[in-house]
Symmetry: C2
Subunit: 116 residues, 2 copies
């Protein structure tokens, strides 16, 4: 029995649409978080380089096979992913290194005194 | 003219495979970065909740339509995304707050003196 017979095609279309919506909009809270914190040290540059290139390929694929939903979802995801990538490159240059960085770097030892 | 006629279907299959490979493996460097730094403050919890749910839907969709590549790619992506999510939840509880957090929190003001 073909798996599609377990549910109607309409159910699978609905599941696919939910999947595309969730994976696309998920990058919006990440963009907002990086923008608010002005920090993206914990985010992997390599992840967003690979991911952006992959989504660009999905976009070409969507246009190529003439699929509106694939094209639209990946166009929006690409905009969000590239925006996060640009902010990461900007903040990594300007922001001070975080605890996680200084913990492994050869920083000058400092003494911290509470102000009375 | 149908867009597929611009290139052969084999070309679009190749572009689609490249896209799936890049978007899937992109989460591996992110997982490694979080694991090494023991920090995931800049990563959005909401992003990985939405993304993991979306990928789980893609997985059900892949199984449902009987697509091996969609099922395999999303199964691997789900494992990586959930692993990042679990590490974020763990490190956010145990690690000290980063510069970006303390900058907006009502922390006790401190004086930093270099040790001579």
């Amino acid at each position: 029995m073909h798996p599609l017979h377990q549910f109607s095609p309409a159910v699978y279309n609905w599941i696919g649409s939910t999947a595309a919506t969730c994976t696309t909009i998920s990058f919006l809270p990440q963009l907002i978080r990086v923008w608010r914190r002005k920090s993206a040290r914990d985010i992997s540059l390599l992840m967003f380089l690979f991911f952006s290139f992959g989504v660009a390929c999905w976009l070409v694929y969507g246009i190529g096979i003439g699929s509106g939903p694939v094209t639209a979802a990946n166009a929006l995801t690409l905009v969000l992913a590239v925006a996060i990538l640009v902010l990461k490159l900007r903040y990594d240059r300007t922001s001070p290194r975080s605890n996680a960085d200084t913990a492994v770097s050869k920083a000058t030892p400092i003494k911290v005194t509470p102000i009375k």
